[in-house]
């Protein structure tokens, strides 16, 4: 019987032949925590009273959710992280380095075929580069630091095939939202997704990462894709470490198979207050908005900023609307500066924030006011998510957010051609 990608990767990392439903203890190639989860993990690690960090070179701590610190109490937590990283020789990505998931990719801390844990649910993002990457809590991360391994239940896999050429105005984010709307918030609970098909193959890495990023919004453990030439090209100049991509066997056993044809896909929007509350943009067009957000681990990459700048080029953010733009990492920020994207966006009236999670988590800047509608490229729109339970969050692609900010209301981005600056 053939194996799925998850079965193969977990088997090789556990040194045993394991199938879906079985339990393994797998060696971790890398592990990461951020400033919302690391302080609690450090407390747990110290409580475990172990010998130390098993593989310090496999650990990164990131200050991104609350960066720069808005409060003294947050600064204390950041100090705890810096101190711990210093003591144990761990990589510390400080304020401005960027969103943890982007930094992990920029620095090639995750490679095809790897097992990677992150104390952040969107660790599933790296499934797009063929890694078994999954989110864990602080204490699991602490146990991982201590021993270099963690227990897993090998998940069953749902094979997702996406075919069709994306029409003008529809992007990877729209594919992702469509999938979440169809599969629903718990449709893939405890399952692995293997996402493939011609649409995925046609996407650049930036867009593939967007889709894997939303795997956890369907309850999935991982959102895996096969590695191809684009994947290899991404890592080519980033690492000298050898890696071996993992493919599913032809006769692998899947729990379910889903097929989507996106050749007629319209831009999608997730309405408040659930990620799977997805409709075509036409159903919410005209909804007034007060704030836009372009950024986050979902859509803060270069391709996203290029599309946004292409729509806002020569245009202006509507009066009464503030558009916040947060490049996902220092690397993305630098490249965006060099391409003139930051200038174009700023000319149009966008306010560019330092690389990090920005307004997504409601911890620092960009908290919406009572009754305000926000349109955001993030991945969650729960009530109170952005810091105010009296606000309403709509999720969409960077194109939809950009077009909406020009009009001051939710707008079909197909009304605005993308003209690169």
């Amino acid at each position: 019987m053939g194996k799925t990608i998850s079965e193969k990767i977990l088997s090789s990392h556990a040194g045993t032949e394991a199938s879906a439903g079985e339990m393994v203890i797998a060696e971790l190639d890398y592990m990461m925590a951020q400033d919302g989860t690391a302080p609690l993990a450090i407390r747990g690690f110290e409580g475990m009273k172990g010998a130390g960090v098993a593989f310090p070179e496999r650990v990164a701590l990131c200050i991104d959710h609350n960066a720069p610190s808005p409060l003294r109490s947050v600064s204390e937590l950041h100090s705890i992280m810096r101190d711990f990283a210093g003591r144990y020789g761990l990589e510390l990505n400080d304020v401005g380095e960027g969103v943890c998931h982007q930094v992990m990719l920029d620095k090639a801390h995750v490679l095809p075929g790897n097992v990677v844990i992150g104390a952040d649910s969107h660790t599933c993002t790296y499934g797009a580069v063929n890694a078994f990457a999954t989110g864990v809590g602080s204490t699991d991360f602490a146990a991982g630091m201590l021993s270099g391994s963690l227990w897993f239940r090998v998940p069953e896999t749902i094979k997702v095939t996406v075919n069709g050429t994306l029409p003008e105005g529809a992007y990877a984010k729209d594919v992702a939202l469509m999938m979440v709307g169809s599969i629903t918030a718990d449709g893939a609970t405890y399952m692995a997704l293997e996402i493939g098909g011609e649409t995925i193959a046609a996407l650049e890495l930036d867009g593939r990462l967007t889709i894997s990023n939303l795997a956890v919004e369907m309850g999935a453990k991982v959102g895996l894709m096969e590695a191809d030439d684009k994947t290899l090209a991404f890592f080519k100049d980033r690492t000298k470490t050898k890696f071996k991509p993992v493919s599913a066997d032809e006769d692998a056993n899947y729990a379910n198979a889903l097929e989507f044809d996106v050749s007629g896909l319209e831009p999608q929007v997730a309405r408040p207050h659930q990620v799977d509350n997805v409709v075509a943009v036409g159903e919410v067009e005209g909804t007034p908005i007060a704030e836009g957000l372009i950024g986050t681990c979902t859509n803060g990459r270069l391709e996203d900023l290029r599309v946004a700048a292409g729509i806002l080029n020569g245009g202006k953010v509507a009066p009464g609307v503030r558009l916040i733009v947060a490049p996902a990492s220092r690397e993305v920020m630098l490249q965006a500066l060099r391409e003139g994207l930051i200038e174009t966006l700023t000319e149009a009236g966008a306010s560019v924030m330092c690389p990090g999670c920005a307004s997504c988590v409601g911890t620092h800047q960009g908290v919406p006011g009572d009754g305000e509608n926000v349109i955001s490229t993030a991945n969650r729109n729960f009530k109170g998510r952005m810091g105010n339970p009296e606000a309403f969050i709509y999720l969409a692609s960077p194109a939809t957010v950009a077009a909406s900010c020009i009009e001051g209301k939710i707008t079909d981005p197909r009304r605005y051609p993308v003209s690169p600056p």
Partner: protein, 170 residues
């Protein structure tokens, strides 16, 4: 060991942002402070209503969303003795067990808000005394039972130094 308490009923897809909002969770490690804000955006009075030893009884997909471990921890500090649900999101499920807060999968549809429950944690047997229902929770993996038996993963790792799938129960 049999524990008794009152059921607080919630619906489906109670996410961890609802359990403890980001605007609180990211600025402190004081769980007693966070306990005052549990479920605030869903049910502002919950933290006042919840008594020591009470239970949360939910629908599907409890704990979905963010991996924040402060979610089960703050619930525990608010006095919640166990969470029963039709199903749990997986990161939350692990986090709950890692913090010694039992998370029991069972058919919660018949349990009503305010019902008095008796739970035999060892056997996973639940009795809704008010509603006259008997339920059996689904078994969890042995490694999770071992972690729960120690009171949580910190205690487990302190005692054993490493994880094992085949450990003799304490």
């Amino acid at each position: 060991m049999v524990i008794k308490g009152t059921a607080h009923k919630f619906g489906d897809d109670v996410n961890t942002d609802y359990i403890i909002a980001g605007r609180y969770k990211f600025k402190t490690l004081d769980m007693d402070e966070l306990a005052c804000h549990v479920m605030e955006d869903l049910d502002p009075e919950f933290s006042n209503r919840c008594q020591e030893g009470d239970f949360i009884v939910a629908g599907k997909n409890f704990g979905c969303g963010s991996s924040r471990e402060q979610a089960p921890l703050a619930l525990k500090h608010a006095g919640v003795a166990a969470v029963l649900a039709q199903s749990f999101a997986r990161i939350y499920f692990r986090n709950s067990i890692n913090n010694g807060l039992p998370a029991l999968v069972c058919d919660t549809s018949g349990i009503k808000d305010g019902d008095e429950l008796e739970i035999d944690l060892e056997n996973g047997k639940i009795r809704d005394v008010t509603g006259g229902i008997e339920l059996q929770s689904s078994p969890m993996p042995k490694v999770m039972l071992d972690i729960l038996a120690e009171g949580g993963l910190v205690e487990y790792m302190r005692k054993h130094g490493s994880l094992s799938l085949e450990r003799e129960s304490a």
